[in-house]
Subunit: 267 residues, 2 copies
């Protein structure tokens, strides 16, 4: 799950960077070009024209034409007039890519219960490199529109789930995250390595992590890790809501209880 060493050159844009850079194809192989075409789509895109795909990938328009025809033939892309969009087959394959499928399935009812009990938005996330990837998001009726979405990414240090996972991870994961820099996501994001380490020590003691407007102003969150038999985090869950409406300390026991139950069930 954690591939800090992973190639980030063509990384899919997460929710953190609203204007991600285009994907550049340095590797001229057909496989690399095909992959770049798929990775050129971003959240919010629907269909993209050939010119836009060429611009984003740096490929000649003739190549985009030819390669996309093949991808359409195999259902990875679909045509929409003269434009192209990602094929539903990618959704199907993508669902199989969550190695911890059992985690998602097992967590689902508990997440639904947490949403029901708190009326706020619940998350399930894993760590990948220096970022968290949301495997599940159930929006609550009382919660603000958060930037989190299923399949989206966020810098780990700026989120409750990320801090919950890091606090229960081997030291070198924390070093990797800090070594990569601690980008400011909102004006309250913790960007000081010393402060982050102190907070993580506290999270490790208490079993719950708080996030106060560190990922987006106006929202708070309380998170707790899902741990394996060795006590290492494999994921985390959280409940997030409005800063002036959700009392994180009051919800902490509920989140912690659900996390402990889920950890036990998975063992």
């Amino acid at each position: 799950m954690r591939t800090a060493e992973r190639n980030t050159k063509t990384r899919l844009s997460g929710t953190a960077s609203p204007e991600p850079p285009g994907v550049t194809v340095a590797d001229p192989s057909t496989a690399a070009r095909l992959t770049a075409l798929l990775a050129a789509f971003r959240p919010g895109d629907d269909a993209l024209g050939v010119s836009e795909l060429a611009r984003r990938t740096g490929l000649p328009k003739t190549s985009v034409h030819r390669l996309s025809r093949h991808l359409v033939d195999h259902g990875l892309l679909e045509r929409d007039g003269s434009a192209l969009r990602l094929g539903l087959k990618l959704f199907e394959i993508g669902q199989l890519a969550v190695r911890q499928r059992g985690l998602v399935d097992t967590a689902r009812p508990l997440l639904a219960d947490l949403r029901e009990a708190t009326h706020n938005t619940v998350h399930l996330a894993v760590l990948e490199g220096t970022e968290v990837v949301y495997l599940d998001v159930l929006r609550g009726p009382d919660a603000p529109r958060l930037p989190s979405r299923i399949g989206g990414r966020f810098p780990a240090h700026a989120t409750g789930v990320g801090k919950a996972i890091l606090a229960f991870s081997p030291e070198d994961f924390v070093d990797t995250v800090i070594g990569a820099g601690l980008p400011r996501v909102s004006r309250r994001t913790i960007t000081s390595p010393a402060l982050l380490r102190r907070q993580l020590a506290k999270v490790a003691d208490e079993g719950t992590a708080y996030e106060r407007e560190e990922s987006s102003i106006g929202t708070v969150c309380v998170a707790s890790p899902i741990v394996d038999a060795d006590g290492h985090a494999v994921a985390a869950i959280s409940v997030a809501g409005w800063v002036n409406r959700m009392r994180t300390e009051r919800l902490a026991p509920a989140v912690r209880t659900a996390a402990l139950a889920l950890s036990r069930t998975l063992r």
Copy 2:
């Protein structure tokens, strides 16, 4: 969304066939080979060795080696020792492939409410060709373990959601499904075209579709379509449970109400 004409040669195995055939690569293009490699993974697989991937795709082991290296470089596959597995990036890209992302996001809270109100399993599905693809599944505490899963497929005529969508689809979609044959999934599956057409006419009248052990013995389901401004189905939702515990007629108004609310919200 509906691509009845789509190439089904390398179609991802759905939940309908517990032992899907290996993917065979007739088309020698790189796109075909890449698709075959990605589609070779099945539900329940974790990491697969190069030999197994070669066996499933019919590709030479040297090709599997070479192609998988590119896919690993771009995060679509990940290494696990000498074996390979689908990369988390595929999950991320796959989430972007659901064109009706707005549908999924909007349906989520309503599905959670339905699960809470019924304690059974709720589904959101769309039609693709002759099959439904599940975009969302929330398992209920009282429901049996159903074969449905997010990203999974099922023959449309054998499911409540499929019949709900077909009843609110143009005639030629129904013709396509019937023309492709009506495979028997359980011993109660409707395999008679005349009987299916009669049932669809009833569903069109009532706005709700029932499924009685037609997809798996022991379970029943009640479904209702999400329709656009022209009255055509774009998706369907359902509640499924045990045949001798869940009273479909009693739950029908709840499912219909949620479907109508969702249809209105999406307009």
